[in-house]
């Protein structure tokens, strides 16, 4: 008889002593099918949950997206289809006075000459295309170009460290964020003066 002092023998005996319950191939296939069914059900539940979230999200966004000018028609089908750009309702051509407030992280930026200040935009609009100039009160005047899609405006100055403005137009005012060279950024707002 081998001594109980032999660890390998102890381990071997441990494996031999295991009281196995039936673990059959049929059982394996059944368990596999059961698991696949649970996975399909789980996927269905997740899919339904995602669909519900999307639908609820769309419903909660629609009233804001379809906010029309006071004189505009009530909520129509065209105004609730997000993939269709809303028509340009405002002619941006003219002069706009604005201000900006910049920061980089928690630090005020001076990429526009000073951390904050004022500017004047002069726009000429052709369809959805914009061209004009931006004059900073801190000095300098630069050409700008951009587009207006629905109420979303994007414009910027050309060049390596160009300034990019994005924002939303609401009747005779617009506001949004700007970014300089992908690092400095801040907020801006403007209103039409002429």
């Amino acid at each position: 008889m081998s001594s109980m002092r032999d660890p390998d023998r102890l381990l071997e005996q441990g494996m031999e002593h295991v009281r196995l319950s039936p673990f059959t191939l049929e059982g394996f296939y059944r368990a596999r099918e059961r698991r696949r069914r649970h996975q399909r059900q789980a996927a269905l539940v997740v899919g339904l949950a995602i669909a519900a979230v999307v639908i609820l999200g769309t419903i909660s966004v629609l009233p804001r997206a379809s906010t029309a000018p006071a004189s505009g028609p009530p909520n129509t089908r065209a105004s609730v289809i997000p993939s269709t750009p809303a028509p340009v309702t405002t002619d941006l051509s003219g002069t706009w006075s604005g201000s900006y407030d910049g920061f980089v992280g928690n630090d005020k930026a001076s990429y526009l000459g000073s951390p904050n200040g004022t500017f004047t935009l002069t726009w000429a609009q052709t369809g959805n295309d914009l061209s004009g100039t931006i004059r900073l009160k801190s000095g300098g005047i630069q050409d700008i170009s951009g587009t207006i899609e629905g109420r979303t405006i994007q414009f910027g100055t050309p060049g390596f460290e160009g300034i990019t403005f994005t924002g939303v137009v609401k009747e005779n005012s617009m506001a949004g964020q700007y970014e300089v060279g992908g690092s400095a950024r801040g907020t801006w707002t403007a209103h039409k003066t002429q």
Partner: protein, 176 residues
């Protein structure tokens, strides 16, 4: 062998077709040994069955590629150890996070307190039992066992050394 299995596991597409030729024979040939080993490692037969089921399922899903490997058994063992490690890690994490999830009851103790072998094995940690089974029973090298357990070969050596020492000590008590 393990490297091949590891690469294969990451690149072999999932198969979801009906029963595949050769798998049944493989299952019947390997299930008992794997189940015994996993029961000793985890100390719980239900836990061992769950791990074995998972491991065989992964093998089944990749069977067309696994079946032509030099060592399909190595792939099965590696997969089983991966499942074991993941479960062990999750249980440890849950405990560390204070979720008050009790560890799986060690099957050795309630199975038969009079069973001296079971009591000796119950003194080891699951990792010590796994290291010893992989090297002493399945014949893997320290490097191979280390890859399966996600540890270095030195750690495997340390685990098996500790396990042997503890078992020898138990044997002394049992012989006395």
């Amino acid at each position: 062998m393990d490297e091949m299995a590891s690469r294969a596991e990451s690149v072999i597409p999932m198969q979801v077709s009906a029963p595949m030729p050769g798998f049944g024979e493989f299952f019947e040939a390997e299930k008992e040994r794997l189940l015994r080993a996993l029961t000793v490692i985890t100390g719980s037969l239900p836990e061992a069955e769950d791990i074995a089921q998972d491991a065989f399922m992964k093998v089944y899903e990749r069977w067309p590629s696994v079946s032509v490997m030099d060592e399909p058994v190595g792939y099965l063992h590696r997969t089983a150890m991966n499942v074991f490690r993941n479960r062990y890690r999750r249980a440890s994490l849950a405990l560390r996070r204070g979720l008050q999830i009790a560890p799986a009851p060690d099957g050795f103790t309630p199975v038969d307190d009079r069973d001296v072998v079971a009591r000796a094995l119950a003194r080891l940690t699951p990792r010590q039992r796994a290291a010893m089974i992989l090297t002493a029973q399945f014949g893997y090298t320290g490097e191979e066992a280390g890859r399966m357990l996600g540890v270095s070969s030195n750690t495997v050596w340390a685990l098996t050394h500790q396990a042997r020492a503890a078992l020898a000590e138990s044997g002394d008590e049992l012989d006395a």
